[in-house]
Amino acid sequence: MSTSSSVLDSFNIQTSHDLTWNVLPLLHQVKHAMDNLLENNTNEIIDLRSIPLAPGEEDNLLKILGQGEVKAQLNALGPSEIIETQYNGVWLITHYNDENEIVSRHIEVTYMPEILLSQMQDIRSSSQRLSEKLSESQTDNSTDNGQNEKH
């Protein structure tokens, strides 16, 4: 979704400084969400697709939030990028499809985004897979032992 400045220049498209000024209210919303997380343990998610942002405005916002200590890559139905911004507890989550196009972009104010946590259902099926693997290997071992005994 980011548009390079050269493209903006060549089409003479004005960038956000002169337009809707949505960056500042959004940053205030993030600040309130951080206070709310600390005081009431409440998470907040802001959907950047639901806000009318002028060309370049989203880039400005992302630049101000910057990148902090954590950057995680997820591979599930296309890649996803989960970044903790330089403001701890403020995460930027970008989901892409298989063609690397953005399908959603959220700012999540939380201790840990839920999508990073291992999910109970996945752990259950993984446990099952591992158990099958172990019983397979046990069967292989006993077959091998039986053959050795014959020899």
Binding site: Q14, I45, R49, H95, E101, I102, I115
Partner: protein, 391 residues
């Protein structure tokens, strides 16, 4: 397009598990779905719960007098994975552009889907329906009107996709040579008509089918934004109900606000800064396109936030006024490059009065615009080369 009952009975959650899709992927899908449906992110857990247990609804898609742009919009949309998942989570039993079957086999698929899912299937219609001469548009020898009435009788709800199905669109434009009407108008005109003459012998389970009281969801646009089409399908899939609609039957989640209200150029309108021609200083500085005929103030759609072409931009962002394609009779609306009502009104003062005295002035401006639009429709004003050159 399978009619396998076992597959249909599986929930979406089960189908995803069978495909090896992890719970984490599912959560990602739900986050993207909430964003697509313009629902608050706090709804993501509710969407996840509902989708996990949702069953595949049967969908019959009928195309009448149309250009196939609506289907193109949907199938060429950028959220390939997301749209695929939604397509995977419905049972698209009949769509004559997409289905492999043709001729009698295709019609049998439609009748079989109707028979099996009578009263429960979703009917999606794109294109307007001609009434002047039944030979204008037929499918398998059946007039569009007969096929629509027959299929609508057993539908749980009807989704009119595109401006042609929603409001008549270009086929309905003056002088409307084929007597084309929208789905809503057809239901009003023929909803109580007897279906005896058009019922097929192979569809026996057709009791209680009344067309007149079917819920209709209109998804206008020429074409509609693809995620709006899938958003409506997903809403039905998620909640089993139709979304909240406005007075024209449009889902408020997508059509609740005007292009003007959500336009990033709105601050220029408020300041009275307008482009007067396509190459003047105002146009170069990205000022408001109201005086160049922008129909944003009277057009309700999600273009300004959802955008087009991989979320790149929308017409106003590319420097062109909104044509108002998701509004009734937009084709006869008085010329794409004719301003709604600006030249005689001092916009900045109007806005100041609106701010000071509630929305009265804004409402008055809106009424003036609507009035001008209806006059234009009555007089069938045409766009001239002068409008285009804007000299």
């Amino acid at each position: 397009m399978t009619n396998n009952k076992n597959l249909k009975d599986r929930t979406l959650g089960e189908a995803m598990q069978d495909h090896g899709i992890s719970r984490r992927s599912f959560l990602k899908f739900c986050a993207a779905t909430a964003s697509m449906m313009a629902l608050p992110p706090s709804m993501i857990p509710a969407i996840a719960r509902a989708l996990e247990t949702a069953k595949k609804p049967s969908v019959i898609w009928l195309s009448f007098q149309e250009c196939t742009g609506c289907t193109e919009s949907l199938t060429r949309s950028h959220n390939a994975t997301l749209e695929n998942l939604i397509f995977d989570s419905i049972s698209l039993d009949y769509h004559h552009t997409l289905q492999a079957a043709s001729g009698e086999a295709a019609e049998e698929a439609r009748e079989e889907a109707m028979q099996e899912n009578w009263g429960e299937y979703l009917l999606v219609v794109d294109g307007s329906i001609p009434t002047k001469d039944m030979g204008y548009s037929t499918i398998a020898g059946m007039s569009n009107l007969d096929m629509f009435l027959q299929t609508a009788a057993g539908a749980a709800a009807i989704i009119s996709v595109g401006t042609c199905a929603a409001f008549g669109g270009i086929p309905h434009a003056h002088p409307n040579p084929t007597g084309a009407y929208s789905v809503y108008d057809i239901i009003k005109m023929y909803g109580n008509a007897s279906l005896d003459g058009i019922s097929s012998a192979s569809i026996s389970n057709t009791s209680g089918g009344s067309v007149a009281d079917k819920p209709i969801i209109t998804v206008p646009g020429c074409p509609p934004i693809p995620v709006v089409i899938t958003g409506v399908l997903t809403h039905y899939l998620t909640f089993g109900t139709i979304p909240e609609l406005d007075h024209l039957g449009r889902p408020k989640a997508f059509y609740g606000q005007s292009i003007h209200d959500r336009c990033y150029r709105r601050p220029f309108y408020d300041k009275g800064l307008f482009a007067e021609t396509f190459d003047d200083e105002g146009a170069k500085k990205g000022w408001c396109l109201y005086k160049l005929g922008c129909k944003g103030p009277t057009t309700y759609n999600a273009c300004a936030t959802t955008k087009w072409n991989n979320g790149t931009s929308f017409p106003i962002e590319s420097g062109h006024p909104c044509l108002g394609c998701s509004e009734p009779d937009f084709w006869d609306g008085g010329g794409f490059y004719k301003a709604l009502s600006v030249p005689t009104i001092d916009i900045p003062s109007t806005v100041v009065y609106a701010a000071a005295g509630g929305a009265a002035a804004g409402v008055a401006l809106g009424a003036l615009n609507k009035n001008k639009k209806s006059n234009a429709i009555r007089q069938h004003t045409k766009t001239t080369i002068d409008d285009l050159e804007k000299e």
